[in-house]
């Protein structure tokens, strides 16, 4: 029964792959609706399935078919898989609703259909990754996921930055696969089996090697610094509903992989695994948010926040490993719970933010927040939804983001239980960075919401923006509601799930807030007069949007404070009328922030490869004579080598 449900859901997810056939219809709108409905229904079925597995704790074995004889594609859904399937299903449901409106704004019908088809394959592949029983099926679905997302990143291929985004994404995603195959190879060499079960390693060295490969493989895909560079390119390049899926879900699939390896494949590891994870997470978190602050492209800003949040999740996993290694299982569980809960929360609010910023993009035709402003009056629904997402991601109570970060903070607070003072100091450092990250995120979202939605429109497009169609509000609304519910009812939910985490009862807090708010508002409702008037600008006639604080202005103090990280470079060129440089003619000033990882990591590697390629090309760009000379030399070398072998 429950298995039938699962097959039905997978089938429904596969069905929209036929969407390109709609091109043969005159108007495919109804067909597209139907296909999106199929995705929605599949998502609901998967939610039910996941809830069932989570609740009963049964393991669901679903054989699909044989990829090749002896290589079965089999799914195994346990609680961990079910949790992630739940995340995927919920977000996919919301995105499916949103897409009904979003897809129709695309111009060519071929693209509309294609977007739906690729989207369904993308979602399906993620479900398959998460429920794959063996590494072959895992890699198959993993690559399918990479493929679908790669095509989606290139979906708007004629746009300017897309090619670069696609290239970055391709390189990094393939690099991640390299390490995953390496991890698979190590496990296969140890056990002779591809199953994702607890592996008995012949020595700790191999276990650590497998961990390292898995960490690198999943880390690259999740966007851990310094492998993060593809994220801010790829996410903005993709259509907005896909950005939501990529940022909300795909990088979580990488987290799933990491958790799967840590929990059920690898043996309990030495403490340095945890230290590695914690360090990587901390660095990602802080750099992610700092880079986000300087970003004025809304989707890229959100992408950097994904790096930050992935960092937070990985920090949680690191804490889990550290506390587990110390035998402090209650704290370890708290950290793991925080990490997983944050995974869910981030999926919800990041998708929410990407979807709403997609609506903003559609309405204003730009992603540059310096050209927005005042959208709250023009698109109130979108604004409110974005605000909910912004408050959640800033980890403010009583929303969901707060709860998961709180759990991690609490795990940190118990650092005093650890034995090693050095480990304690490490946790102290990570903790303070975490606190900074969290506060900077709030600053960044004040900027994002304030500059985009509040104040006066900064461009004609922003002035003429229209509210998004209903489905593009309904989809994000689902996520927003979940953000609130998961925040308010977190205490109760954990109780139902049987965990006793020291989480404050936010329902009480929320209700009290509401009560006090209502009471004050009621008490003061008739006090004083009210008048609406132009903003006071010291008596001068209002300059409109010109006088408004800009996004660059907003983030300037932080950039100044962290100039060791940004390394801003100011170049000023002046021209003068005379030789003494007294009469100024004209000049340009340009401030550029250093892109550290690009300049010191990615570009040098690319240059080295380019150089090697140029060398190889030069060797081959010769005439026949030299080609024959190569044969001569190679044959002679072979003879010499053979002489020494025999």
């Amino acid at each position: 029964m429950i298995a039938t449900l699962a097959y039905l859901a997978l089938g429904l997810l596969l069905l929209p792959a036929l969407a390109p056939l709609l091109a043969f219809l005159k108007d495919g709108r109804a067909g597209r609706k139907a296909f999106l409905t199929a995705i929605g229904i599949a998502a609901l079925l998967l939610t039910a399935l996941a809830a069932y597995v989570l609740y009963t704790g049964t393991q669901l074995l679903l054989p699909l078919y044989d990829l090749a004889p002896g290589l079965g594609l089999t799914l195994l859904v346990d609680r961990l898989s079910a949790f992630f399937i739940l995340i995927i299903a919920v977000v996919a449901f919301a995105v499916a609703i949103y897409s009904a409106g979003y897809v129709e704004h695309l111009k060519s019908p071929v693209r509309k259909n294609l977007l739906i088809a690729l989207m369904s394959i993308f979602v399906l592949s993620m479900v398959l990754v998460i429920s794959a029983k063996g590494m072959v099926g895992f890699l198959f679905s993993w690559e399918l996921m990479s493929l679908a997302s790669f095509l989606l990143v290139n979906f708007e291929y004629e746009k300017k930055g897309t090619r670069k985004a696609g290239l970055y994404y391709l390189a990094m995603t393939q690099l991640s696969t390299v390490f995953l195959i390496a991890a698979t190879g190590v496990i296969y060499a140890q056990t002779g089996s591809f199953d994702l079960q607890r592996v008995a390693f012949s020595s700790p060295f191999w276990a650590s090697l497998a961990f390292l490969f898995a960490f690198l493989g999943f880390g690259i895909k999740a966007g851990i610094v310094p492998f993060h560079k593809w994220l801010p390119y790829a996410h903005p390049a993709a259509p907005s509903n896909i950005s939501a899926l990529m940022s909300g879900l795909m990088i979580k699939v990488a987290i799933y992989g990491l958790v799967r390896f840590l929990l059920t494949v690898l043996p309990p590891g030495p403490v340095w695994w945890g230290i590695l994870l914690l360090t990587a997470g901390t660095v990602s978190a802080i750099l992610g948010v700092i880079y986000a602050l300087k970003e004025h492209d809304l989707k890229r800003l959100l992408a950097y926040h994904s790096i930050e949040n992935i960092g937070i999740i990985v920090m949680g996993l690191g804490l889990f490993e550290i506390f587990s290694a110390a035998g402090l299982h209650a704290v370890a569980l708290l950290a793991l719970g925080g990490a997983l809960f944050h995974t869910l929360n981030h999926a919800l609010f990041k998708s929410l933010l990407f979807l709403t910023s997609g609506s903003v993009l559609n309405a204003t035709k730009t992603m540059n927040i310096e050209r927005m402003g005042g959208l709250s009056a023009r698109m109130p629904g979108t604004a409110a939804l974005f605000l909910i997402g912004a408050v959640s991601i800033s980890a403010l109570p009583p929303f969901n983001g707060f709860v998961s970060e709180l759990m991690l903070f609490e795990a940190f607070f118990q650092a005093y239980l650890l034995a090693s003072p050095y480990l304690q100091m490490l946790l102290v450092i990570a903790f303070s960075v975490f606190a900074l990250t969290s506060a900077l995120a709030a600053a960044c979202f004040v900027k994002a919401y304030g500059v985009v939605f509040l104040g006066v429109p900064r461009s004609k497009e922003a002035k003429e923006a229209k509210e998004a169609p209903r489905s593009m509000l309904a989809g994000p609304a689902v996520l927003a509601a979940l953000c609130i519910v998961l925040g308010l009812f977190s205490f109760q939910l954990f109780a139902i799930a049987g965990f006793s985490f020291p989480v404050p009862d936010l329902l009480v807090v929320g209700l009290l807030l509401l009560a006090v708010y209502a009471l004050t508002a009621f008490a003061l409702r008739n006090v004083g007069k009210r008048r609406t008037c132009e903003t006071w600008s010291c008596g001068y006639p209002s300059a409109g949007s010109v006088a408004e604080y800009t996004a660059s202005g907003f983030s300037e103090p932080i950039i100044r404070i962290f100039d060791a990280i940004f390394l801003p470079k100011l170049t000023v060129e002046r021209e003068y009328h005379d030789g003494q440089k007294a009469l100024f003619k004209r000049g340009t000033a340009e401030m550029r922030l250093m892109r550290f990882f690009e300049e010191y990591l990615y570009d040098p590697v690319a240059r080295a490869v380019e150089k090697a390629a140029a060398f190889v090309a030069r060797l081959q760009d010769v005439d026949l004579d030299l080609y024959v000379a190569y044969i001569f030399v190679s044959a002679l070398l072979l003879i010499i080598v053979a002489r020494f072998l025999i």
Binding site: A395, Q414, L454, R530, E534, P557, R560
Partner: protein, 314 residues
């Protein structure tokens, strides 16, 4: 929710709301004395509030609902936050309050919306204030939380109720002398969080100096009254934390009428002294340039880190 908690709720909130403006007045009075002026009456903040409530409330035509809702939100958040800081006695264990993170993040919630209102009017000042406020509070955050991490190392708990419970039993500094260092750091936090010199200047409306004031510049009438009250409560709560953790003598260990009354008196005395100290401190320093403020925070951070190292490697 038992009766004790209900009593706690009522008493704590009432004391906080009632006392908050007074402490504002004390600081101002001390500052005036230090400058050789007579200064305003002690109760002037109350008069101000009453006057503001009667005045017209002007809202910018650019403003969205955020501007209109934030004053109410601020006051509600601060009142709920009050519940996490026991002023007079401990109500026993609750599932919702006393969490350090919850407390500070509630303050952050109020801050978040206040910063939004700064941007809402579309004026230059508001945006500037928001920008500075968010930047400074962001870099203050590690200091705040580190302080409590250190307290967790000392008291083996990160619950405010738990910490206060321990300190009120133990008396002054009997727990750990290194806490003096921490107390100094906490003083930095209070100064910074309540927008006082040398971080911010509550007195002026000069573009160069103001941070907090710039954000609330657009508010008037009852909105301003609510914002001011919220700000005063925030100051009181931070001071209360300082008092109850570092100077806990007199705190009611049992919720009996007599000890609570004694507790109230001692709290009043200690808070007025602390407010006076803040006023004196403010009078003795000059406003720092915006980009020098992180240096001031660094002093606090240094103290905390020193404490932690002493604790960790003891």
């Amino acid at each position: 929710m038992n009766w004790l908690f209900a009593l706690y709720f009522v008493l704590n909130t009432a004391v906080a709301v009632a006392l908050a403006p007074l402490l504002m007045g004390v600081v101002k009075k001390v500052k005036a004395w230090a400058q050789g002026r007579r200064g305003q009456p002690l109760l002037q903040p109350y008069y101000n509030l009453a006057k503001l409530l009667r005045k017209e409330t002007v809202v910018s035509s650019n403003a969205s609902w955020v501007t209109r809702a934030t004053p109410y939100l601020s006051i509600s958040v601060l009142i709920v936050a009050t519940l996490s800081v026991p002023l007079l006695f401990l109500p026993g264990k609750t599932s919702a309050f006393g969490n350090v993170i919850l407390f500070f993040y509630l303050l952050a919630l109020a801050n978040f919306f206040m910063a939004l209102t700064g941007l809402d009017g579309g004026s230059t000042f508001g945006g500037m204030g928001s920008s500075r406020e968010m930047s400074l509070s962001a870099i203050l955050e590690p200091l705040v939380l580190l302080t409590f991490l250190t307290l967790a190392f000392v008291f083996k708990t990160f619950d405010i109720f738990g910490i206060v419970g321990t300190t009120s039993q133990a008396g002054i500094f009997s727990v750990d002398p290194v806490l003096i260092l921490l107390g100094a750091a906490f003083f930095v936090i209070i100064v910074a969080e309540t927008a006082r010199l040398p971080v911010d200047n509550p007195e002026t409306h000069l573009e160069l100096t103001m941070v907090h004031e710039a954000m609330v510049l657009e508010h008037s009438g009852k909105h301003l009254a609510l914002m001011e009250t919220a700000h005063a409560i925030k100051q009181l709560l931070l001071m209360a934390l300082f008092i109850n953790i570092f100077l806990p003598f007199g705190f009611a260990t049992q919720p009996t009428a007599a000890s609570v009354a004694l507790s109230l008196l001692s709290f009043l005395a200690k808070s007025i002294i602390l407010a006076a100290a803040i006023g004196l401190f403010e009078s003795s320093v000059a406003k720092l340039r915006l980009y020098r403020v992180p240096g001031f925070y660094a002093v606090g951070t240094f103290l905390v880190v020193l404490t932690i190292i002493l604790e960790v490697f003891r």
